[in-house]
């Protein structure tokens, strides 16, 4: 049985870690981009960002004033049991979100869409989102918090098989150029692309591709992995850098995830995980051990399983 107080306490630490500490994989990617960048203004922006991450850690303050919309991805091993069950788990994650909003502090971003009611704690109807995944075996629970920022950089389009790779490239470039101007996408970003599924699952896949994969890892399908490399290169050759200034740093990495779709369609979504690519992960075991990490390790073979197990 996994202790519920331990879940809440761990979740509160994760909220602070995500807001304050830039994950190493993204940081390494950005350092490389800063070394390669030769645009004056774009270079200045990247150097300022690198300084900013240091300041955030030194001062233990959030790296960005817009602390995004905190959300939770929960993964459970098949043998895991939670003290109080799933209802207690959700209550603990909501409490942790509210407590951390005050203690870090985070910006209380979440409001009612029409009445703009703000509880000043990032908790409300459907907020924070809590999504679930499962793995065979295991008496542990993984808590992943992502504080995704940005009102800009994400788009969806129904493409068709006849659009082909050329159509996918067009929509990818359209999304980067449209939201890259003036730096609205807060690039250089981790770009996640969802292909297939249905409209909702396509969005979910693309968002997870952006937020739950590490910079530098590749899709296990070698042809998709080659596309990821090609799209990263393509994005960095638009001629645009940070803040939409002339440069070549748009994409720290490009991750593609796919799901089976209707035979006549080819859904596509594009997501940008910004300069503050905030994610933090912990695994809690039923014997009370807690292991913190930054790799969500979400996309396992089990999550990408191809067909019936029989």
């Amino acid at each position: 049985m996994i202790n519920i107080e331990l879940i809440q306490k761990t979740a509160e630490s994760l909220m602070a870690k995500a807001a304050i500490e830039i994950p190493d994989d993204y940081l390494t990617g950005l350092q490389k981009a800063a070394n390669d960048e030769d645009g004056d203004l774009s270079s200045f922006v990247l150097e300022a960002m690198l300084e900013n991450y240091v300041a955030a850690k030194e001062d233990r303050r959030a790296m960005c004033g817009d602390t995004g919309c905190p959300r939770w991805y929960v993964k459970m091993g098949n043998e895991a049991q939670i003290d109080g069950g799933p209802i207690a788990l959700e209550a603990a994650l909501r409490r942790a979100t509210a407590n951390a909003t005050k203690s870090v502090p985070l910006r209380p971003n979440r409001v009612h869409p029409l009445w703009r009611t703000d509880h000043d704690n990032n908790v409300g109807i459907g907020a924070p989102e809590i999504e679930y995944g499962f793995e065979p075996d295991g008496n542990w629970i993984d808590l992943v918090t992502v504080h995704k920022g940005g009102l800009f950089g994400t788009d969806y389009r129904m493409l068709f098989p006849s659009d082909g790779i050329e159509g996918i490239k067009r929509f990818y470039l359209d999304s980067l150029v449209a939201f890259g101007k003036r730096g609205l996408a807060c690039q250089p970003a981790i770009i996640g692309i969802g292909l297939g599924g249905s409209k909702d699952t396509c969005m979910v896949l693309g968002k997870r591709a952006a937020c739950l994969r590490m910079v530098g890892d590749r899709n296990p399908d070698p042809k998709i992995a080659a596309l990821e490399d090609e799209f990263k290169e393509l994005g960095n050759n638009i001629g645009m850098g940070a803040m939409g200034f002339v440069g070549k740093s748009m994409v720290i990495d490009c991750n593609i995830e796919v799901g089976y779709c209707h035979t006549g369609g080819m859904q596509m979504s594009v997501h940008a995980f910004c300069l503050s690519s905030r994610r933090a992960v912990a695994r809690i075991y039923d014997d009370g051990r807690v292991e913190f990490r930054t790799d969500p390790a979400w996309f396992t073979d089990y999550q990408r399983r191809e067909t019936v197990e029989w």
Binding site: E47, A56, R61, G65, A242, M243
Partner: protein, 225 residues
């Protein structure tokens, strides 16, 4: 550490003189000293649409309007805990900016992403105001360091923490980049034009979607196929 490059770095008062503003060129890096305040859609609606009086004397107190909601909280004893500070995208406030410059006398509008050069020419230039963009846009921790204290918080109850009017005493607060000058030129528009010149080449080997969307044609009687 910031690489040494050709960009000019300038300390500027948050109540700047006309001469100091005239000296600025688009692309200059600016750090502010003095007092700035946050005001965005909540404050704009309240003052400009609901006609409620300003809670402080502007621009005497401050001529620098920051499009921002800080990551901050107010404790029960009234004290503040302010962490990171980052701007929000300014283009959304276009319809209010002219009346706001009239009402507030602001000389510096600070935000994310700038506004259009049309807004600059119509509203900023006649008021002798310029636009400073934040950097990144995520230098929230650096900007947080530049805030010496929260000197006031207006309309917390009415607007909530994110939309309330935060009054911040700042020192070496930055970096910001000069996005518009007193003639209404826009740095972003200059950069967009440079990038657009080579976009056709980037798009080679792609093709438009089989199914069109509204917005890709101006004729609403068109079919999307």
């Amino acid at each position: 550490m910031v690489k040494d490059n050709k960009l000019r770095k300038i300390r500027l008062s948050a109540n700047p003189t006309a001469e100091a503003l005239a000296d600025l060129r688009i692309g200059d890096i600016v750090y502010l000293d003095g007092t700035v305040y946050t005001a965005r859609e909540g404050v704009y609606k309240r003052v400009l649409e609901d006609g409620i009086a300003m809670p402080m004397d502007l621009p005497a107190y401050s001529a620098a309007n920051f499009h921002c909601s800080p990551a901050a909280t107010q404790h029960d004893d009234g004290s503040f805990d302010l962490g990171a500070v980052t701007a929000t995208a300014s283009f959304r406030f276009s319809k209010w900016i002219g009346p706001w410059l009239d009402a507030s006398g602001a000389k510096l509008i600070i935000g994310k992403g700038g506004m259009s050069s049309k807004d600059y020419r119509e509203h900023f230039v006649p008021h002798g105001a310029i636009y400073l963009t934040t950097v990144g846009y995520g230098t929230g921790a650096l900007l947080g360091r530049g805030v010496k204290q929260v000197s006031n918080l207006h309309w917390k109850k009415e607007l909530g923490l994110a939309q309330a009017m935060w009054v911040l005493d700042v020192e070496n607060f930055g970096p910001f980049i000069v996005e518009s000058d007193l003639d209404g030129n826009s740095l972003f528009e200059r950069e967009n034009a440079r990038i657009s010149a080579s976009l056709d080449k980037v798009y080679e080997g792609t093709r438009p979607a089989v199914l069109k969307r509204f917005g890709e044609t101006d004729d609403r009687s068109d079919e999307m196929i």
